[in-house]
């Protein structure tokens, strides 16, 4: 954690945005390690893939499109900002004074709602991974919302920069471009990655279906799947990879994913339960839950992968 703090300060000081982005990636990665230490394996998985992977790539593409150096402003150091931050921090510290000590098993947080998840989800939902049970079933509606958030982001990016202006000439200070150029030359990299990418995709599928039992699930799978494609695009060529997954297809998958999730909910509704009640999907409660979660997670994976790919390619296409 101390390392994270140091990284944070370094980000604040550093002017070279390229370095800043790299450090941010590092920051995410460290937090992921921390999550593992704190027993949050699912979260660690996601943070590593999303925070350290996708977000970093997006930031790098942005830098390539804009500028990689933060101008040193001669303006006075914003003291008000420092003051505001110190005050906010002080308030937060004040708030922590009445918190239960770290790791205290008797803290109220562990006693009101959660015991039921831990004790009963085995019978009610029938999955060993409690995180998945809560995510997809007990609080499945939140997750639906979350899928819609990423859906919104993908559509939004399409709307904002989906249509590059024609006839625009610009100097390409393309960090990513250069990186890609370097990598393209590197035969070893190309061969290794060609071998690696199928494995990444297979691994993504594994994470997708394994989420019920161990760490993993639709999110992680979707992100990893997308990461495979993005890697391909980085090493080979955006246009070729675009041909593998045309934008129409990703767009369709994007829509189908969210509709699958919401659709499962509606089916539950039609079969006499409330929205997102999976128990009514099959004769037996746990079987229904299982089926529902499987479908829903697939919807999540589909949307997340499609969304990530859409966002990345939209950014990447800007250069041309």
């Amino acid at each position: 954690m101390v390392f994270m703090a140091v990284t944070g300060f370094a980000v604040a000081r550093l002017r070279n945005l390229f370095g800043v982005v790299m450090l941010t990636g590092l920051f995410s990665l460290m937090s992921a390690v921390l999550y593992v230490v704190l027993d949050a394996v699912d979260v660690a998985f996601t943070e590593a893939a999303v925070g350290a992977g996708i977000a970093t790539v997006l930031m790098l593409s942005t830098l390539a499109l804009t500028s990689s150096e933060e101008r040193v402003s001669e303006a006075e150091k914003p003291m008000w900002a420092l003051g505001l931050v110190v005050v906010t921090g002080a308030v937060l510290i004040y708030g922590t004074l009445d918190m239960a000590p770290f790791g205290d098993a008797y803290a109220p947080i562990h006693h009101h709602v959660v015991p039921r998840y831990l004790e009963k989800s085995g019978q009610e939902v029938g999955l060993p991974n409690v995180v998945t049970s809560v995510l997809a079933s007990y609080r499945g509606y939140d997750t639906l919302g979350e899928v819609y958030v990423i859906f919104t982001a993908a559509c939004g990016v399409l709307l904002i920069i989906g249509r590059p202006k024609r006839g625009r000439r610009r100097t390409l200070r393309m960090l990513v471009g250069e990186m890609r150029h370097g990598m393209r030359q590197n035969v070893i990299l190309r061969v290794v990655s060609k071998l690696l990418i199928p494995f990444i995709l297979v691994f993504a599928l594994y994470v997708q279906w394994h989420g019920d039992f161990g760490p993993g699930g639709g999110f992680q799978a979707g992100v990893i799947f997308a990461a495979g494609f993005i890697l391909y695009a980085l090493i080979f060529d955006v246009d070729t990879s675009r041909m593998v997954v045309p934008s129409e297809v990703t767009r369709l998958l994007l829509a189908l994913g969210v509709m699958l999730y919401a659709g499962v909910g509606v089916v539950g509704l039609l079969r006499g339960g409330n929205f997102l009640n999976y128990s009514v999907l099959a004769q037996e409660q746990t079987a229904g839950q299982h089926l529902g979660i499987l479908l829903v997670e697939f919807g999540v994976g589909l949307t997340v992968a499609a969304a990530m790919i859409t966002i990345f390619f939209t950014f990447a296409r800007q250069e041309h």
Partner: protein, 492 residues
Amino acid sequence: MAAQYPALQVVLALLAAPVCLILRRPNAAWAVATVITWISLALALSLLGRVWETGVILYPMGDWAAPWGIEYQIDTVNAFMLVIVTLIGSVVMPFARASVEAEIEEERIYLFYCMYLLNLAGLLGIAITGDVFNLFVFLEISSLSSYVMISLGRDKRALTAAYRYLVIGTIGATFYIIGVGMMYMTTGSLNMADLAAILPAVADSRTVLVALGFLTVGLGLKLALFPLHLWLPNAYAYAPSAVTVFLAATGTKVAVYAFIRIFFTVFGGVEIFTAGVIPQILAVLAALAMIGASAVAIYQTDVKRLLAYSSIAQIGYMVLGISMVTVTGLAGTIVHLFNHAIMKGGLFMAMGCILFKIGAVQLDQFEGLGKRMPVTMAAFVAGGFSLIGVPLTVGFVSKWYLVQAALEKGWWLAVAAILASSLLAVIYIWRVVEVAYFRPPPKGSAEVSEAPLSMLVPLWILIGASYYFGIDATQTLDIAFAAAETLFAPPL
């Protein structure tokens, strides 16, 4: 099937959004969005009717009972919010068609309607849910789609406005999440009613106090509470017309609703809100917003910006009503949520018509508009009366109850602030009126005709509503008082 209306209220819009994405045709997307909005309005009205007759409706998602699952808790307050949001949406959609075609490139229109549907779903989701974290998720759906829609304005300042809103909005959301985390830490629950039951037991905890502070600031940023309003003027001024109408009439209103919900339902049983210093702080900020923003509005040369500043002042009215912590004050706020939505919606629609025909809403372009676009300008003047609070308009009704509530409390300065703000409204509305009616059209200006009927009819529906509900305010006030009393009732 009626039992499932609560779910459909949000899910229909959610399902329609990807449909728009697949259709990829501007007209088809528009038709889908319109029909869905109208159905949502019907659902909202039927929910309001049911709540009115039978009391609170509970709807556990996935049949997982609260606090383990996420549950909708629909009482008069949120049913009324649902009606406000869908009602405005229903009127905006017919208006949007021509306006959006004029302001957004054709190949992006279908995505625009997709965004609109997501925004609608987000706002409805916030209004209907009974779970503090679920509220955050839908807050983000609505916020992200707002950023996108704002950035589509023709002026390039729309981009920076959207970016600044994004940064500030995300800070607000993060503050909110910190507050939720702290509440969860001390109570172990995320369900609003459940929280309300547990919080009194841990009320003396410093963590809870800080949580309340962070929730206040977080939501304050979203609802543009002075001095956290800096994102709003540019966002409203440069967004496409239809977006401004919809967001101005619903976006901040829903944030105000969330504010009310957190304070009165979640923290309702806790003395730290009602007896603490927060109401006083809110009252002072509200008064500053009412006076300050109105005064700034007077100096605006862009009429959309002028109206945006007026919105900040009007939000001051609402927060003032909240800060009184009385039934009358809260009823004043709730009725003003509705009233301001229709009148400001109407005024921004008038701006949309003028933008459609003239291409700009700078004050000097209004010269002679009273003759050139008589129907639109008449609507503007009629809406302006409502903003001032002339009797027979909805603005008068809101003001009446807010002043009465302030009198009951003996808050003389608040009374003075309300009245002073109305007088400032006279000035900024009249600046526009004088230019439009008492200056000849600029020489050599092209003949301008009226906006198309598809825009004028929705405009006049809203303006007409602002008179209808001003002349007979008994229905809205009955609902507002019932809602206010619900909020003061002990938690379930």
